[in-house]
Symmetry: C2
Subunit: 230 residues, 2 copies
């Protein structure tokens, strides 16, 4: 049995949870608070970042990049023919485009939007309750999010899925980010209809059901979080 | 012929230049100023980040992650047996460890050290000459660099190369970061003898010679930059 060390609202952890489900793999989930910097967790992953996958053989695979490539390489993953899904489908060129977009969402979207929103709304409050959120930073993140929705809309007007004709880890990386922001009610879906339609398709997949059941103690999701036709 | 769009002091570009040389591939280098946000470059790579590899077939592979995986997958790369080098050597577990460390240097080291140093010393001066560097930010980056040198030293006391017994892209990722900081005289080599010895070994490889010839207009490297036994 695989074990995934994650945080419920961590977008990178969410992308791996979606990837595991799309690959037909199940994992026991263990929650870690990334702001705690626990010694036991740092012993496992000196970088202190999430997620960490514990393989059946016991070794820790640390970080979203190593985990995604590990899942693609690992014999544990059913073949693309069997499951109909590959994290990096297509030829060398197609896989490069998939990875460009994975990097877009895991790095650019994450640093321009999610890292700020989570830090201001969740992590800092959890580790230091006395300080309120930085409103200017949250406004900048909100502006950035509009730009990212437009980019998703731009891509999806030319392609069936974000990186091409097949669902790939690029869609799951983007959905991981957006689902975390959507839980907090921070996604202005009205600004881009094409992006909303694409997200609705990802949200309707069986792999997504686990994310819809997520609840953070003391913080309910916005009402439309669980609605497929939102 | 491959073309690599890079900036001389960009650590991520440097890691790809080392990777190309270790793979026995040559590329024409085209300099881009990442602070310029030129429309023509953004048309090629909407994220605006470096490096970008133009394949022989003309398509652009954008970003260090897609390029490194592309080089590993691409038939253009001589086989590991022929060149004796693989970007991600070993078994599935070994490759996961290599990628963990690549991520460490491309993301953690880059954001905690190099991005700050380059922004404060080079990029901002180039785009807005009137503002001096933020001394407090540079001091924090310098403190972080000492910690990263200790981590390299810790790794290399147990292994021949950073990720295991073979040279991998993890070594080149780390060397790309350190060589850029070393050009500016910002590496306190005296704090960790094991890290210095490891760097001296990477620096002595034929793939590194091109980096030693690098010169930025109006900014000479520190004297020991070209010295192998520094």
């Amino acid at each position: 049995m695989l074990t995934l060390i994650h945080h419920t609202l961590c977008p990178l952890s969410r992308s791996i949870r979606l990837a595991l489900a799309e690959c037909g793999l199940s994992a026991e989930l263990v929650e870690e608070q990334p702001w705690s910097w626990r010694d036991e967790f740092l012993d496992l992953n000196p970088a202190g970042n999430l997620p960490v996958l514990i393989a059946e053989t016991g070794e820790a695979i640390c970080g979203v990049y190593p985990i995604s490539e590990y899942l693609a390489e690992s014999s544990a993953q059913p073949s693309e023919e069997a499951s109909g899904f590959s994290l990096f489908p297509g030829d060398v060129k197609g896989r490069a485009e998939t990875r460009r977009l994975i990097d877009w969402f895991h790095s650019k979207f994450n640093s321009e939007v999610s890292a700020c929103v989570l830090e201001e709304k969740i992590y800092r409050t959890a580790s230091n309750g006395s300080e309120g959120p930085n409103i200017a930073a949250l406004r900048a993140a909100q502006d950035n999010l509009r730009y990212h929705l437009s980019y998703i809309g731009h891509l999806i007007e030319e392609r069936h899925w974000l990186a091409g004709e097949k669902l790939s880890f690029a869609d799951l990386a983007a959905a991981g980010q957006l689902s975390s922001m959507d839980y907090l009610g921070d996604v202005p879906w009205e600004v881009n209809e094409a992006a909303k339609t694409w997200y609705s398709r990802v949200k309707s997949r069986p792999s997504f059901r686990q994310l819809l059941k997520d609840r953070v103690a003391g913080l309910a999701p916005v009402a439309h979080y669980v609605v497929l036709d939102f």
